[in-house]
Symmetry: none
Subunit: 208 residues, 2 copies
DNA sequence: CGTTGTATAGCAAAAACATGCTATGTTTTC
DNA sequence: GAAAACATAGCATGTTTTTGCTATACAACG
């Protein structure tokens, strides 16, 4: 008789955790699935579970912390654990952060069932799985992500607070022309046509 | 023989939608549960479904729109539908926005199973259900928090994506004048002078 | 020592936006 | 059934932003 395969979900959204546990059981074909939405309860379980085969589906966003911070702790508790990040986030910054830790899987909550199945199959056979929609962000890693100069970021902050060019110029004791020059340069770098796009870009890249 | 009870989930996170459908079936005891993550597919179904008893579990956050903007459309399609908002958001503004529409239920994705069960029981017997954790925010309703209308929020999303007034008008088949009118109204409500402030406001209130 | 990147600054024309005002039909609410 | 809120649309005027140019000074890199 083969061993039972265990999976656990850690997600602060209990309804998701419990629902996803059902999916893991039914489609993912894990024999035992537990769901947690409190970090400490999860670790209590992990401690008692010991060093057996285990698949952890870990939410990136958690209250007061995030999945990354737990990653090393989990690995310490249980060395042969396989960790799959599940995330609702799409920003390059988050994906880069996650991939940096080289987890066994990165899966979007937006994934379709077939992809979910592939993820589980891959991870179970020891392959790393990355949601294809995230791959572009991984590729970006080497080709340098756009870098704004300190001055540009400083001015960007003023813009994000709703200050106009003239106001920003007054606050920084620059000529409005200079402010315009910085602004257009950063917009060109980030490939943005409007300040709204620029702010979205800034937020996604955690610049502001 | 009693009629089959139907439920549908609309959530852009497919894994959640599919998982939650399992939960609705198993714990919620709905006979037929369908899950959608695309708005148009959902409406196709709704049209074919006609005016029968139906329970819709509607995510607040949806790409390019949100549950509020769909609320009226759904009610139009199927008058006896019961709509339960499910949301991962906790900010007063979001709860106020939702409760403003008087849906049949407001349920947090963080809810525990017993609460989930109570929600379904309440809604099925015609009572309105509100997740207790949200009730404090409802009390705040009279001291007016800014509430944007669905149309305003819809247009706000276009702006946040960097679309100009003209572009937004084209995409929504509105007159640019109308777009301007909505825009100025929402800016006045939120007490914003620039679109940048408006976007910051929108982010802080998790409207986009 | 030249090239590159950064910070600074300017002009002018075109495009977009803001604002004060009005107005009408529909929907919701009390 | 009246009042309030919402969605729609328009005009006129002034302000702001965008964009296509140019230009100087300084610092770092190789």
């Amino acid at each position: 008789m083969r061993d039972l395969t265990h999976a656990v979900v850690l997600d602060d959204h209990r309804l998701f955790a419990d629902s996803f546990a059902l999916l893991l059981q039914k489609i993912g074909q894990f024999d035992v699935v537990l769901s947690f939405s409190a970090v400490d309860e999860f670790f209590s379980f992990l401690q008692s579970f010991g060093d057996q085969e285990l698949y952890v589906f870990l939410d990136y966003y958690l209250p007061d912390t995030n999945g990354l911070a737990l990653f090393a702790d989990i690995k310490r508790q249980c060395r042969i654990v396989k960790i799959i990040f599940i995330t609702s986030a799409f920003t390059p910054a988050v994906i880069r952060n996650i991939s940096h830790y080289k987890p066994d899987g990165i899966l979007s909550k937006s994934a379709e069932i077939p992809l979910f199945v592939k993820c589980i199959r891959d991870v179970r056979s020891g392959r790393k799985f990355v949601d294809p929609q995230f791959e572009p962000f991984l590729a970006q890693r080497d080709e340098r992500g756009t870098t704004l100069t300190p001055r540009e970021i400083e001015l960007l902050k003023y813009f994000s607070q709703g200050h106009s060019i003239a106001e920003t110029a007054a606050k920084t004791f620059l000529s409005p022309h200079t402010v315009v020059a910085h602004r257009r340069k950063m917009m060109a770098k980030a490939n943005c046509q409007t300040i709204a796009q620029m702010l979205t870009y800034a937020r996604d890249n955690e610049l502001i």
